[in-house]
């Protein structure tokens, strides 16, 4: 049995998988909004304990634990830095070591999106393709280029499709720059804009829905509820996000010309095939070779995909 953690800006998903990569237990926690890396590590440990319990065991009995983490991950040492969507997590924090000493089992830490896309390449929607682009639409917008089941890393940081520029001088991004895909499509950026616009008097049910469903953030499910209600403002922001994702993905395709795009991430998974069809549509006007558009597919491992893929980082 291996443990896997998908550490996101909104939630921490833990799974325990068996020898055939099937989920034996799982648990979910909200990601702490305050405090710092140590608090996040505590929440991870709790989620893992609960998942292990659901699988009929304890974390100490696992052969190993894998973590898919945002920010700058040092895979050799298991430290994580600059995790912008996590609380006060700028300096390097020894996440791997912290969990390893807590449970007494080996821990491997990998880049969250890269790990999830690798999972799709081997177990999911990427299986049929020699080359594809993972487009991970969640709190931020991440990506990974897969070539023959391996991630193309370049000098180590390839895949940042969320920070491709699609509008020079455009909206301010979470990264501080302007006009990035993530500035339009990242859930965090979308929420910031919605809060600003609401203060200016824009009408939307987004925040009422957020409260009705017991959230304090515009989670992916809140966006889905608003779309289900045909909230015009929510629809407008989703349309804007999809326009940015389409332009970014098409730009990427024009540059690297891979066979397919696999869409995942919290929002990507939530909006499902409808979202995928709209992203495909938004790509078409920008594809330079437009007579053979790439396949665009929804990730198959679903909500648990990141955590399952992370577990596969750990020794079996």
């Amino acid at each position: 049995m291996r443990g896997g953690i998908d550490l996101g800006g909104t939630k921490i998903q833990a799974v325990v998988i068996d020898e055939s990569d099937s989920v034996a237990g799982q648990a979910r926690r909200s990601t702490p909004r305050d405090g710092g890396p140590a608090d996040v590590a505590d929440a991870i440990a709790e989620a893992l304990e609960e998942a292990a319990k659901a699988a009929g065991g304890t974390p100490a009995a696992l052969t190993g634990i894998g973590v898919g983490s945002p920010g700058t991950v040092n895979e050799a040492t298991g430290t994580v830095a600059n995790a912008r969507n996590l609380p006060n997590w700028t300096n390097p924090f020894p996440l791997g070591e912290t969990l390893a000493s807590r449970f007494g089992v080996p821990v491997r830490v990998g880049n969250d999106v890269g790990t999830a896309v690798e999972g799709e390449a081997v177990l999911g929607a990427g299986r049929p393709f020699r080359t594809f682009l993972g487009l991970w639409w969640g709190t931020g917008v991440g990506g990974a280029i897969m070539v023959e089941k391996h991630r193309w890393l370049g000098r180590g940081a390839a895949g940042e499709i969320g920070h491709m520029v699609i509008k020079l001088g455009g909206a301010r991004c979470t990264c501080g720059r302007r006009g990035c895909v993530e500035a339009y499509a990242g859930r965090a950026a979308m929420e910031r804009k919605a809060r600003r616009d609401q203060k200016r008097g824009v009408e939307t049910r987004l925040f009422a829905l957020m409260e009705e469903h017991g959230h304090d953030q515009l989670t992916s499910s809140v966006w889905q509820h608003a779309l289900d209600e045909h909230d015009a403002y929510a629809e407008k922001l989703i349309e804007r996000a999809i326009g940015a994702l389409g332009a970014g993905a098409a730009s990427a395709l024009n540059l690297i010309d891979v066979e397919a795009v696999v869409v995942g991430g919290g929002l990507g998974t939530r909006l499902g095939e409808t979202g995928v069809a709209r992203i495909r549509e938004a790509m078409l006007p920008h594809l330079f070779v437009d007579d053979r558009p790439p396949e665009v597919r929804l990730s198959e491992l679903g909500d648990l995909g990141g955590a399952i893929s992370a577990a596969r980082l750990a020794p079996a």
Copy 2:
């Protein structure tokens, strides 16, 4: 001895190279503006005859001829289609066959930019790098991704950095789409804008300089003359072009994270180290990992680079 042709939207450059890839003879023609593919093929043949003569021989005595061509090149058959910057060249034309039957020697046709960047990888500025991006700034904006001296082709059409979207809803591009890098930085697009703006009464010496130097197009040298005279309008358009190139190159780097960018093409070569330094500067604000920017280097094979690289396609 091998013959090489760099077929551009403005000029046709022919070289004859010896066994050590040194230039034994060269000639240049303006690219025909009217007529069709057959007229372009005639001009290529004339340029090649002149280059061969300068090398003390004839095209028929060459071991082979290589052509770097714009448009959609079928490298297996030697046909070229959709060469937008060449006169009436939409349907596939058997360029390789036409030249082969004229001179009785084998002819290989390759993508112009790809061929030139391959030349830089082996003989020029790309030699030190395992991975780099060729950024070819000329009539259009082309590119090529080099990995271990080989072009990354994807499904066959990778490298179109000129058609990465850097401004959603922005300027109309030569390709008919909006907001591409080439819509701002391609020499053809820049000239179209300058002609429009001149009609509207904008003050610039660009067209006077064009006539003084005996051109009927805003060639790279005309742009350089205008910059030398500190023509404010020309400076503004070059600044705009460099902003687009910087954003496009940075976007590409964020996605593929290669070691270096090598800048070539007619305008790239003409503006030289000054242009390269400005492109580097324009990239920096958009690089997601900004503490280790890639090397940005000027192509080394210069004006003859495309033709020399094309000659290397031919059998020795």
